[in-house]
Amino acid sequence: MPKKIGIEAILIILALVVLVTMPWLTQETYVFHILCLIGINIIFAASLNAILNIGELNLAQSAFMGIGAYASTLLVTRVGLSFWFALPLAALITAVISLLIGLLTLRFRGAYFLLFTFLFAELIRILLSNFGISVFGGIPGLTNIPRPSIELGSLIKISFDSKIEFYYLILLITLGSIAILSRIDRSRTGMIFWAISQSESLTESIGIDSMKFKILGVAIGCFFAGVAGSLYAHFVGIITPTDFAVHSVLAPIAYVVVGGMGTVFGPVIGTTFLMVLSHFFLRELGFYELLVYGLIIVGIIRFMPEGLISIPNFIFSRFPEASGSGK
């Protein structure tokens, strides 16, 4: 349906214009602080979704974000790399570790996979809290993580100290991540991920090595969890093992489900909607905040099982004449 693509494109361009001109709309530090966190959470929710695409829920996804955060921090503070090299390297380290974990755990499916990834998440938290304290900082974690800066010769120097500059950095990396993930989604490889989640037995029976693709899917997802972790560390400046404990994967699962599982834009919409809701609108409710928040999530899941992303379909199927005009 070409007319729907047209509307989507217009919405995306509109959103981009608003995002890019944001500093002219408001100078509120709080707004940029939350927008940065939304960007980081979008990358993380999308990474979670990438693994959901092969039909598994990875409860250790936060732990992999933690691996990215610690790796990036240590690469900057201990090895002396600049942030610009530390970020991709940390993401790569995260992906490689997930590759090894994937080899061990992906032969287990469903509930067993959940259990193993749960245990791995706990293992990482315990290791970071109790071992190599001189390096990992123990339970208090690592502090004073430097913000990135760009120095070209002695003339040009951009430091990302202010929230607004960091905002643009995160905006760029979030857009790049989403672009890459949606490219993968539309590729033959993405099609095979999707096939595996629908019927692994059939995928195997037509000669496709499902294990190879599942491991690749996990590695791609964890690469972006690593990106989110690195950004988080350098944005917030403090990381502790509990930031990445197993419970911290729960909110992003809600973002993915509310936005729409199995689509690239679902997690984007779900994360934005729920985080804007809770940080800008529900704060006034005080005591009732969590109650209302929970009710909204349950309501969306109950009445829109395919998530917010299905709203256009919902509208178009109700009013077919509205969709028939643009052709």
């Binding site: 629908q198 037509i206 000669g207």
Partner: protein, 253 residues
């Protein structure tokens, strides 16, 4: 010449022996029926030949290669491709996408093909597309080519399954009750297709409860009962064997 040979094939599930010391072979170009009452072990034999279950004992040799314990995808790439007793399609994909995936392993499209767009199915991938449309046409699904598998009626879903399997270009096609739930016209249709598939050079192992169909289409049958081979031979001969009649009646009574 023998395409497939199984020797002393055995599968135990805890105390239950689902398949017990089974020997049989399939000649090239043959349609072999594998029949027997419910629970006789037919699907379990399929699962072992195609690698879904590792046998507890015994050997499977395909084209002279011992494939016992190989993974399903490897066996499929060697040329033994199955369909499933319970309808098994990629239900959220269109007919074309389903069949294109069947051509994937032969397409030369490598592992890290992120740039290989799905929309290229229609443009660049002319080989695969040609192959897929031919198979879709053969199974009379051309009108449904862009329909989601989920939205097809049962009979067409069964045909789609066969189309996916044929797209893999099997040397041995294993069909697990392909006529199940079909009306008489659909059955007749499917039988003539099965014969056509054989005439293009494929060999077929057919599990089916429809005895008339088995008699019509199979060159030879193997009868299973409680995991053991009860009889083997020409369909009409085997149906006369009192032990075979008893096995079937015994279950129905």
């Amino acid at each position: 010449m023998k395409l497939l040979k199984v020797d002393n094939l055995t599968k135990r599930f805890g105390g239950l022996v689902a398949v017990n010391g089974l020997d049989f072979y399939i000649d090239r170009g043959e349609i072999l029926g594998l029949i027997g009452p419910n629970g006789a072990g037919k699907t379990t034999v399929f699962n072992m030949i195609t690698g879904a279950f590792a046998p507890s004992d015994g050997e499977i040799v395909f084209e002279g290669t011992r494939i016992t314990g190989f993974k399903p995808n490897r066996i499929a790439r060697l040329g033994a491709v199955r369909t499933f007793q319970l309808t098994n399609v990629f239900h959220e994909m269109t007919v074309l996408e389903n069949v294109i995936l069947g051509t994937h392993h032969n397409s030369g499209i490598g592992f890290f093909q992120f740039l290989h767009s799905k929309s290229h199915i229609r443009k660049k991938d002319t080989d695969a597309l040609e192959k897929a449309t031919k198979v879709i046409d053969f199974l009379d699904l051309t009108d449904q080519i862009d329909t989601l598998a989920n939205n097809l009626p049962h009979g067409q879903q069964r045909r789609l399954e066969m189309a996916i399997a044929l797209a893999v270009e099997p040397k041995l096609l294993l069909l697990d009750e392909p006529l199940q739930g079909m009306n008489q016209d659909e059955v007749r249709d499917m039988l003539s297709r099965i014969q056509k598939i054989r005439s293009t050079g494929a060999t077929i192992l057919l599990v089916e409860h429809n005895m008339k169909a088995v008699t019509n289409v199979c060159d030879r049958v193997v009868v299973l009962d409680f995991g053991r081979k009860l009889d083997e031979g020409a369909p009409t001969e085997v149906m006369k064997n009192p032990a075979v009649i008893e096995a079937y009646l015994g279950i129905q009574a």
